[in-house]
Amino acid sequence: MNGILQELEARRGAARAGGGAARVAAQHAKGKLTARERVELLLDEGSFEEFDMFVAHRCTDFGMGDSRPAGDGVVTGWGTVNGRMVYVFSQDFTVFGGSLSETHAQKICKIMDMAMQNGAPVVGINDSGGARIQEGVASLAGYAEVFQRNVLASGVVPQISLIMGPCAGGAVYSPAMTDFIFMVKDSSYMFVTGPDVVKTVTNEVVSAEDLGGASTHTRKSSVADGAFENDVEALAEARRLIDFLPSSNREKPPVRPFFDDITRIEPSLDTLIPANANTPYDMRELIAKIADEGDFFEIQSEFARNILTGFIRLEGSTVGVVANQPLVLAGVLDIDSSRKAARFVRFCDAFEIPILTLVDVPGFMPGTAQEHGGVIKHGAKLLFAYGEATVPKVTVITRKAYGGAYDVMSSKHLRGDFNYAWPTAEIAVMGSKGAVEILYRGEAGDAEKVAARTRDYEARFANPFVAAERGFIDEVIMPRSTRARVCRAFASLRGKRLSNPWKKHDNIPL
């Protein structure tokens, strides 16, 4: 009997050793942790239960039959993050370079199926050289099995991808379909075709980092939602994100004890809006002063910085925030910011996370680049996302809400529940200068008349009261009391029930 127990320990030991001490040391030398070390950091200490530790591949081609390491290059299982269940797979670069085989894929599919059945998020840690070439089409089939599950799990359980090494070729499409992608600076990259192929085909010379590193994907492509300094920080921040998310679409967002006053008054917000309408201010200050404990988990902070997206808590409970950022391009809506915010709004709606929208938007960005780039369809994505969202929606207009952008930004007309405005709000078709130029084209040369017309226009529209008279604004609130008002509004919406007409699915302008 003792011998049998010892054999289990021995087999476990061998599986846990991964690709062996030399490869582990090489992994560490690259500044990367091993697959198991990453799982340890992601989960509560001692909570990981591994599945399929002894799974080995069945390939015999190209001499593969001689090497059948236990686990087959991926560590899978489940554990807890602050006591809440999470499923995880972590590719082991020390075993066959983390390459994906048929059995490797089966292990991933198993935990994804369990996650959907039991209602818990899936965290995928990607560190893989790609398909296991020796397995040929069986490996490709494995990818597709994973892809199909990514699709089915989308909107059922949160899916988070951590890119902690190479992720290239077809492999990129699994993380691409998850809800959030985080990368590690300098040690991870993602691309469909690598620098060598790029050079052959297009003659472009580019490094892996420039082609698909963390900086590229967080700033230029928007493929990734965040980048962190190293594995340890990325995993700590993934835990922080998971604390904001419901375990599945069957559950409410989590609530945790909070130590902030829900009626906290912030007199300094009364002076947040500068005297000059063209002077920018930092919308992050408002978010921080509304949020519990000033805590804001920002998503895609480096991309389309003219709009802010991320999670805060109000009364301990998660709220998604979408806010125009006047500090960048005056907070204008454009292709990138519309796409960024639309995807975020749809995530929140899918997982019953209430949405707070903070509006200071001068309109949509003009120009050929925007029009030729399809701003019509991309802008429509955000409009569509807000219009279909049935979660509690609270909106605060701080300053400008001009033109179509006013409609888009969670307006009353898109089933906004609470639409507040600050006294500094200006809800109009456009700013006074542009409006006067169109309305009084004939007086363009007469500076005095233009000034008088501008004053008239401002008196009429540069305030929230015209909209309030029509009920498009439910209440004009003091800036200082924004947190208290918003908290109470969301509290009143805890029982909100709203559904869209039955349909197979909608046809958002992709």
Binding site: L41, A236, F259, S268, G294
Partner: protein, 667 residues
């Protein structure tokens, strides 16, 4: 007759400070304000306010006609000028006198007499005040220079009459040096200034700046309210002051006080004024100048004497006699003032402007054994503009002894929350920790000598560092327990937060064990040291007031991955608290060096590009001017750090740039 309404011809903290006293005396107040100060605190505090013009002071606060109009419009019967602006302008005092409005300050004659350096020195000499010995006449040759130097007594300073900036200046400690110094100064003066006139005066060694507060009424009473030590200065800008001076003995204090009064009496001085002295290492003191106004640092005098100087100025101006005598003016305890400047100490103290997104001074209080006072002109959500003096607050502490007052100041600085702009709080904390300051042995060269290469933050030493580590371990445990209490847990399988942690800060890691009970936590280090940590801190709070090992500790707590950003005692620390396993894995992570920005010229402060001196493709030499950025009225010339070629210029004249914005790139 006491005044009914006082107009304060000033702004910022001093306007607020005057309003506070006037209000307590039942006198109505009028504020004046420029375009930049519409929302300023002094306007909010005053009973009435009058707009007097555009933001630049030379178009508003110092335009006598505009201030006079405000006086007439509001019917004020007296004006307090504060300090700076029109406070020592005799024409302004005249203008008020002409309209029968009281000037809350000295008579015109006294302002004029003391306004000129040479006149005031002569008057001082005549009044028997000690002045720096020197010879102002023409000196013919080196031998005459030696004779004069002997007469004055070594060391002496040999200076070019036309000199400045150290040019043509020599210090001589004996005859030989005097002979040589005279000749080389003369040569240098001739070539630099085209004027080879030389004068010689006593060189004051280990100089300290100590000043006497005087107060005189129009009934012949002239009193001194003891001294203030103002030696801690950065480029002639006072930073920390205290009263009394740790250097003076009672006899010197009395001699200085009596001479100061003699000078005041000699010029018919009334109201509050300050006689500044330079004091050498042997407590010889010499008259520098007299400031005929309320001094910035007057609160320390108020704290040790219990006299409200602004109230006395008002009463004297209204013709009242002083209600106390010299014998009543004792020194009670010790007071320290720290000037809070909107200047970024990490960037060579460059001015910083912008919105005060957070401004929480320590609570003001006056207890029998301690007091905290903060004179301020700003508020949270207010704007620091580029137009005026960057001083935004004066934080004062008082305690029975100097050591206790310093400790109060350390805590008060740690408690002071300022965000949104760069400020010198960390530097002030560093001064409070400095052994030379703690020993009271500073001279006017203190800052230049102790921080010759500028200020780049404080590194905490043990035991201070371990106290922070213990506090963070206990706080992190509390934060982790809160995290583990999230909803949606698997019942009966919750996360158990452990007791063993590793705290990493300032390149040091300490394993600790945290054992918590109802009242706090015992944090034990692996060498056996155990610190008790008690606090009412809750996760997310930006300020933690703790007792660590029975002594108070205040931390500013910010967010950081796996820990906190902690600011305390001038240090700015990234603190990580991890389980031993997490710490072991974190130790495997590569150390990343910050990106190389030497190829870029970055904007060191928010400001306006007013001039570009180079074009793309230009070769520049080390030290060559590249462009000029204007911030807070100050033009700052940015120079090349090394030789190079300008590859790209990304900013244009007229651009308003943020901190660290790229101005140009080098090849």
């Amino acid at each position: 007759m006491m005044f009914k309404k006082i107009l304060i011809a000033n702004r910022g903290e001093i306007a607020c400070r005057v309003i506070t006293t006037a209000r307590r005396m039942g006198i109505a107040t009028v504020a004046i304000y420029s375009d930049a100060d519409r929302e300023a605190l002094h306007v909010r505090m005053a009973d009435e306010s009058v707009h007097i013009g555009p933001a630049p002071a030379n178009q508003s606060y110092i335009v006598i006609d505009k201030v006079m109009q405000a006086v007439r419009a509001t019917g004020a019967d007296a004006v307090h000028p504060g300090y700076g602006f029109l406070s020592e302008n005799s024409r302004f005092a005249e203008a008020l006198k002409a309209e029968g409005v009281a000037f809350i300050g000295p008579p015109v004659g006294a302002i004029e007499a003391m306004g000129d350096k040479i006149t005031s020195k002569k008057l001082a000499q005549a009044a028997g005040v000690s002045t720096v010995p020197g010879y102002m006449g023409l000196i013919g040759d080196a031998e005459e220079a030696v004779t004069i130097s002997r007469g004055i007594g070594y060391p002496v300073m040999i200076k070019a009459s036309a000199g400045g900036g150290g040019k043509g200046m020599r210090i001589a400690w004996n005859d030989t040096e005097a002979r040589e110094g005279f000749q080389s100064s003369k040569n240098e003066a001739a070539s630099s200034f085209g004027d080879d006139r030389i004068f010689i005066e006593k060189f004051v060694t280990q100089p300290r700046h100590i000043e006497i507060q005087v107060l005189a009424d129009s009934h012949g009473n002239t009193l001194y309210l003891h001294e203030r030590e103002c030696s801690i200065q950065r480029r002639n800008q006072k930073v920390v002051e205290e009263a009394p001076s740790p250097f003076l003995d009672p006899a010197t204090r009395r001699a200085m006080g009596e001479q100061a009064c003699a000078l005041a009496a000699a010029v018919g001085y009334t109201s509050a004024g300050t006689v500044e002295f330079i004091v050498d290492g042997a407590r010889n003191f010499y008259f520098l100048e007299m400031n005929t106004r309320l001094q910035v640092e007057h609160p320390v005098t108020e704290l040790i004497t219990g006299i409200d100087l602004v109230e006395q100025m008002i009463r004297v101006a209204a013709g009242e006699a002083l209600a106390f005598t010299q014998a009543d003016l004792r020194i009670n305890g010790w007071a320290i003032e720290s000037r809070l400047y909107a200047e970024d100490p990490y960037r060579g103290f460059l001015p910083s402007i912008g919105r005060l997104s957070r401004y929480r001074p320590p609570v003001q209080e006056a207890a029998p054994d301690r007091a905290v006072r903060n004179d301020t002109g700003v508020y949270e959500g207010g704007e620091i503009s580029m137009y005026y003096d960057p001083m935004i607050a004066k934080l004062c502490t008082w305690a029975p002894t100097r050591d206790a007052a310093i400790e109060e100041m350390r805590i008060a600085l740690d408690t002071f929350e300022v965000e949104g702009i760069g400020h010198n709080l960390p530097f002030l904390s560093a001064v409070m920790e400095h052994p030379v300051f703690v020993a009271g042995e500073m001279t006017t060269a203190f800052i230049a000598e102790e921080w010759p290469d500028g200020f780049d933050g404080v590194r905490l030493a043990d035991p201070a560092l371990r106290r922070v580590a213990a506090a963070c371990a206990a706080m992190h445990r509390v934060a982790e327990i809160r995290r583990a209490r999230i909803s949606g847990r698997m019942d009966n399988h919750e996360r158990v937060v452990g007791t063993d942690w590793v705290v990493t800060l300032q390149d040091t890691s300490w394993p600790v064990t945290v054992r918590a009970d109802r009242g706090g936590a015992d944090v034990r280090f692996d060498d056996g040291l155990c610190l008790r940590v008690e606090s009412d801190w809750t996760p997310g709070a930006s300020l933690a007031r703790l007792m660590v090992g029975e002594a108070p500790l205040v931390l500013k707590v910010g967010k950081a991955v796996s820990g906190f950003r902690i600011r305390t005692r001038g240090a700015d620390l990234k603190v990580q608290v991890r389980t031993p396993r997490q710490a072991a894995l974190a130790a495997l992570m590569p150390v990343k060096l910050p990106p190389d920005t030497s190829k870029f010229l970055l904007c060191p402060m928010p400001g306006l590009i007013v001039r570009l001196d180079v074009a793309e493709g230009d070769e520049v030499q080390e030290g060559q001017a590249l462009c000029t950025v204007e911030a807070m009225k100050m033009e700052n010339i940015l120079r090349a750090e090394r030789k190079g070629v300008v590859a790209r210029i990304s900013a244009q004249v007229g651009d308003n740039l943020a901190v660290d914005a790229v101005i140009m790139e080098f090849a």
